[in-house]
């Protein structure tokens, strides 16, 4: 066996801040062999980003301090290497693909300029003399490798002109420009839609094989790991708790933390899938959406002229029955959030009609009765909770404005906190003192404070780690049974929907393309888009992989936006 390309031994790192020293990495040892694909799995705050930053030398020191340990790349010690030698390795030895394709570009420079800079400075460091035209040819070649054949046009573009998938491809291309040996990918594709993510992962896999790269993949998504790794390290609270070949980790996880992680991932297919039933039989729908469309008009210019009209929702009809957990699935821009806002009466439909509990929203929206009927839990509790108000203050708002007796507000808050499994003394805390999961529980408590019958859940767990997500989902199921609630659940996470909802509607560009009971839609998807979506989801078991619907290339191309063409 050859010597490892990257070898980290006993790395211990801490931060000194506010007069305190806090150790964030404890004795971390890991290695990546040439041509190997290694994954580092961990939840947010586990220390995986610190590890990555230490490898590429961007960990701010101070406050960071390497207490102990070594990092060797190709036999050379990275932590003691002088700056010039180290810089020579940038892009040529180790290269990185960052998570957010938008934040990684300078918005005011063309892609060509940004890529050329990378080649030019690497040439300078390595003492290679290449002319502008030569560099350009090299860049266009590299873009072709990441499936962007129209390189010349891309080089003239500014980052905003490209789609998310294209930006991620360009970013991978950038990392490849100087022919690195080790590629570090930090959550690649996580910020993208699942179908695009799937393409990016396939591309990375192909590049690793074709270019003979080693890959260090940093992610929290176990499904991605199963598709992308030969060997896996599991990190918890700054410690490597388990390591081994992928199949061993996935079939027989040894450490309790790994087992908990595996159990928390909602299965898409297989025996562990949970099917939710609706025991209610009332004939009248809780929410009835009848041929609803919504147009958005952009205005600009000196006199606010109408510039163009965009139809975000196109003739959607659906019924949510009492007791349903109705999942509205779709990728970004599919119109699912607009539809939810119309149901809440925040946005008026351009065409069509929505009834909530038998009353049209056009008349009921804004009345106290309507507020007591339907409430919302937002995606990001960091934004839906006011950072300068205590938990009690925030839960009290709906109570105060729906005519709740002031004397009964405090006991009601205590009762609500108990309902969402939070300690009562949390009432006096501010949001920043709470964890993400606790914040979302507060948001749920606030939504439930006025005894609504219907809750709109706008991706309530997408900002949470998978372990936390499963506890919040359990809580939502329990509350539904306890208080006879009806949920309208908006999400792009189909695995979660499979286990959370009893009915599901799939939206594509403003239309519902498929709708039905969860077991039917997932078991036998009729629409090509549904099949493409399901096929793209990274799953954690081979059994689930085998059960995923098959979708042909032509079918895929017909329903998905091409991400390899400009303006797609």
């Amino acid at each position: 066996m050859s010597a490892p390309l990257l070898d980290i031994r006993n790395l211990t790192i801490g931060f000194r801040a506010y007069g305190q020293y806090r150790r964030v990495l404890h004795d971390v040892s890991m290695h990546v062999d040439p041509g190997e694909r290694v994954s580092l799995i961990g939840q947010s705050g586990s220390g995986k980003t610190v590890t990555m930053r230490t490898i590429i030398g961007t960990l701010p020191m101070p406050p960071g301090e390497v207490e102990n340990g070594t990092i060797h790349y190709d036999g050379r010690s990275l932590l003691t290497l002088n700056k010039i030698e180290r810089n020579k390795l940038k892009g040529t030895g180790i290269s990185i693909v960052l998570q957010d394709p938008m934040l990684s570009f300078n918005p005011v420079l063309t892609i060509g300029r940004q890529m050329d800079d990378i080649v030019r400075y690497a040439d300078l460091r390595l003492g290679i003399a290449r002319g502008r035209a030569e560099r350009r040819a090299h860049i266009v070649d590299t873009l072709a490798k990441v499936q962007l054949p129209q390189g010349d046009r891309i080089l003239e573009s500014y980052p905003v002109m490209l789609s998310g998938g294209m930006r991620q491809r360009v970013l991978i291309g950038m990392a490849l420009l100087n022919k690195p040996h080790l590629l570090i990918a930090d959550e690649p594709g996580t910020a993208l839609d699942v179908t695009t993510q799937d393409e990016i992962l396939a591309l990375l896999n192909r590049l690793v094989a074709e270019e003979g790269l080693s890959l260090l993949l940093i992610t929290h998504n176990l499904g991605v790991v199963r598709e992308m790794a030969d060997r896996v390290y599991v990190m918890e609270q700054g410690r490597i708790v388990e390591t081994g070949p992928r199949d061993a980790i996935f079939t027989a996880p040894a450490h309790p933390y790994t087992r908990r992680l595996m159990a928390a991932v909602p299965p898409l297919y297989g025996p562990d899938v949970q099917t939710i039933e609706n025991a209610h039989t009332e004939p009248e729908p809780a929410i009835s959406v009848q041929a609803v469309s919504k147009d958005f008009t952009t205005r600009s210019g000196l006199f606010n002229q109408r510039r163009s009209t965009f139809r975000a929702v196109k003739g959607v009809s659906l019924n949510v029955m009492p007791g349903d957990i109705y999942g509205l699935a779709g990728e970004s821009g599919s119109g699912k959030t607009t539809l939810a806002k119309m149901v809440l009466g925040l946005v008026a439909p351009t065409l069509g009609k929505i009834d909530v509990d038998g009353q049209p929203t056009s008349a009921a929206a804004g009345t106290t009765a309507f507020r007591k009927l339907i409430q919302i839990v937002y995606q990001n509790p960091g934004s839906s909770l006011n950072p300068r108000r205590t938990v009690a203050d925030q839960i009290a708002v709906p109570l105060k404005f729906t005519g709740f007796e002031p004397a009964r507000i405090a006991p009601r808050i205590a009762e609500l906190l108990e309902m969402v499994d939070l300690p009562r003394d949390m009432a006096n805390m501010y949001p920043h003192e709470l964890s993400g999961g606790q914040k979302q529980r507060v948001a749920i408590a606030r939504a439930l404070s006025v005894h609504p019958k219907i809750l709109v859940l706008d991706e309530p767990t997408s900002a949470l780690d998978v372990l936390v997500q499963s506890t919040v989902i359990d809580l939502l199921h329990r509350l539904r049974d306890e208080f006879d609630l009806t949920y309208l659940f908006i999400s792009h996470d189909l695995s979660l929907m499979r286990n959370f909802c009893n009915r599901v509607g799939v939206m594509l560009r403003g239309e519902i393309v498929e709708e039905g009971p969860v077991a039917e839609v997932f078991g036998a998807p009729r629409h090509a888009y549904t099949r493409a979506l399901l096929a793209a989801i990274p799953v954690t078991t081979d059994a689930a992989e085998a059960l995923k619907p098959k979708v042909s290339k032509e079918e895929r191309a017909a329903v998905l936006n091409p991400t390899t063409a400009l303006g797609g």
């Binding site: 931060f15 506010y18 007069g19 305190q20 806090r22 150790r23 964030v24 404890h26 947010s44 705050g45 586990s46 220390g47 980003t49 610190v50 930053r53 960071g64 918890e236 609270q237 700054g238 809440l344 925040l346 106290t368 507020r371 409430q375 919302i376 937002y378 995606q379 990001n380 934004s383 839906s384 909770l385 006011n386 950072p387 300068r388 108000r389 203050d393 925030q394 708002v397 709906p398 105060k400 404005f401 729906t402 501010y430 920043h432 003192e433 606030r446 006025v450």
Partner: protein, 292 residues
């Protein structure tokens, strides 16, 4: 940055403790706080602190006029023999009175307009912000000169003139912060909960502006002192014999350069106070992590 710290066991600092830590480890901020504290104490206890309290009035001592700095008169005496040091201490009273008077009116007014413009949008926003733009376009010193000249120069009128010009900056600042907050879900959540405009303006939006207002006030205080002194220097502010730093510089300037202390000492006193407020403001800005 996502360098969240794993590993438990350590005492977790609250954000207030972290803010206090940032402030106390910042030498400039501590110096600023010290200076501001001395200025405020001097102003509050002027009659007890000043070696010669009678110098604050129309007291004259011609035998002792134009005396250079000495142990008895640390900053020398002026053209009628009054102790400059005592007059500086009393001068801070006037300066701080001006600050409190101006900011006490300008800040609440400016903040209220900023909140309304940012929250209501539409024509309310257009009217308020365009009016603010117009006020900002007027050259401040010329405006203040015009106002005090029309109204007859004295402390109250100087205060009115500065106030009329000052609120605009707060309107702008708060407007921007509120606009950014309007994209946050908690504003929509409050609307969905049926909250009144008053509730959203003062309970949801205002608390998120407080840090910025605190920093702005601290930075403003120095400039208000300077502005007041400029007006007095031009003879349009506080009138003698009330001890005012700007007036003292103006009178002392006639005896430059031989009897330099009469102008330089009050000038240094202005510098000292402004430096203090600016350092304090910068320290607060770092401590509260706000951008102005």
């Amino acid at each position: 940055m996502s360098l969240a710290s794993p590993g438990g066991g350590e005492r977790v600092l609250t954000s207030r403790q972290m803010a206090v830590y940032r402030f106390t480890r910042n030498p400039a901020a501590m110096v600023g706080a010290f200076i501001v504290a001395t200025v405020i104490l001097a102003a509050l206890f002027a009659p007890w602190l000043a070696p010669s309290p009678e110098s604050a009035g129309s007291f004259v001592d011609f035998r002792n006029r134009h005396a250079p700095p000495s142990w008895d008169n640390p900053m020398g005496t002026d053209n009628v023999g009054r102790d400059v040091f005592s007059r500086v201490i009393f001068g801070y009273r006037v300066s701080l009175g001006l600050v409190v008077g101006v900011l006490g009116v300008a800040v609440p007014f400016g903040v209220l307009l900023g909140l309304m413009a940012g929250y209501f949008g539409g024509w309310v926003e257009t009217v308020i912000m365009r009016f603010t733009d117009i006020m900002l376009a007027l050259p401040p010193l010329a405006m203040a000169l015009a106002i005090t000249a029309v109204l007859s120069p004295n402390l109250i009128n100087a205060m009115i003139a500065i106030t009329l010009l000052w609120w605009t900056w707060h309107t702008r600042l708060i407007y921007r912060i509120v606009k950014a907050q309007m994209n946050e879900d908690y504003v929509e959540a409050a609307k969905l909960a049926g909250a009144t405009h008053t509730h959203i303006l003062f309970r949801e939006l205002l608390p998120n502006c407080i840090s910025a207002i605190a920093v702005k006030i601290s930075l403003d205080a120095g400039f208000v002192i300077l502005f007041g002194a400029s007006l007095s220097f031009l003879g349009l502010g506080i009138q003698p014999p009330t001890p005012d730093l700007g007036t003292m510089v103006a009178t002392g300037a006639e005896y430059m350069p031989e009897m330099w202390w009469q102008a330089v000492m009050p000038g240094l006193a202005i510098l000292y106070a402004i430096l203090g407020f600016n350092l304090l403001g910068d320290g607060l800005r770092d401590m509260l992590d706000v951008e102005l």
